[in-house]
């Protein structure tokens, strides 16, 4: 009985940590079909370690270091294929389903028969951005990026742009989120 209670307590404590991370494991099998694959998995420990090896003198590296300091994980899965339809729509839908929770807000959705589909999601906690996810599903390329933790908005803008939102639209979209 005691063991069961301990198990329940551990599972309860671990749940928020498990719920925190988007699962992209189902994409791993696409590596065998892809002509080019990028697979990046960085947890908080590796992000901290990476930070120690980033230069403070280089402007970009210094910004990455600042941004990485607040993050819990970064996952990137990017596949390039030689043919169309190498991945299934259900592969992408499985990721979208995980981002349908109340915490995540889809801020961009592009559907194009020629250029593919793109989605950008943000997760907010009060005024802070605590997650960013991007799905770019093109006919011969699939890229998924998830960034979780405290995202320093200014540093992110400087490094990667306005979360995919052009400057002219950014204020409108951010206003709508808040």
């Amino acid at each position: 009985m005691k063991k069961i209670l301990v198990g329940v307590a551990v599972a309860t404590l671990a749940w928020p940590a498990l719920a925190w991370q988007i699962n992209l494991e189902h994409l791993d099998r696409l590596g065998a079909k892809a002509s080019n694959t990028v697979n990046v998995t960085l947890d908080a420990g590796l992000l901290q370690l990476a930070g120690k090896f980033l230069s403070d003198k280089d402007e970009d590296e210094s910004a990455v270091k600042k941004l990485a300091a607040g993050l819990k994980s970064i996952l990137v899965r990017s596949f390039e294929f030689k043919n169309d339809a190498a991945y299934l729509e259900s592969d992408v839908e499985a990721i979208r389903n995980q981002l349908r929770g109340p915490d995540w807000k889809k801020i961009i959705e592009i559907r194009s028969k020629t250029e593919g589909n793109s989605d950008v999601y943000l997760r907010q906690n009060n005024d802070r951005i605590t997650g960013f996810a991007l799905i770019a599903a093109e006919p011969r390329e699939l890229t998924v990026v998830t960034v979780e933790g405290n995202v320093d908005v200014d540093t992110f803008h400087k490094l990667a742009g306005n979360f995919g939102i052009p400057g002219s639209l950014r204020h409108k979209v951010e206003g709508r989120i808040r």
């Binding site: 990028v38 990046v40 960085l42 590796l46 990476a50 590296e61 990455v64 990026v145 990667a160 052009p166």
Partner: protein
């Protein structure tokens, strides 16, 4: 009884040490302590060398892991930046 007391007295009587006894004892103890000192020194040196080697291996391993993580992190941001810019471009096309 008297005979026993005499035997005991004789047995317990102070007798001078044989010639050279003290010198032999000192020499022997020196030999022993010298061997032990060397052995202890060798063990300590091995331990220090072992600890230093382990620390050095750990430092090399951490540096390698750190450099690999750094490269992955920079690659992740490069991909994110490229994709974000592409999406911004697509949005601009839709909402000029």
């Amino acid at each position: 009884m008297k005979d026993f007391e005499d035997q005991l007295r004789e047995a317990l009587a102070r007798k001078p040490a044989p010639d050279g006894f003290a010198g032999r004892v000192i020499a022997r103890s020196r030999r022993k302590s010298s061997w032990k000192t060397w052995a202890a020194g060798a063990v300590a040196a091995s331990l220090v060398a072992g600890v230093l080697t382990v620390k050095q291996v750990e430092a090399v391993k951490e540096r390698e892991q750190g450099q690999a993580a750094r490269a992955q992190l920079l690659r992740a941001f490069e991909i994110t930046r490229t994709k974000v810019k592409q999406i911004e471009g697509k949005v601009e096309t839709v909402n000029p």
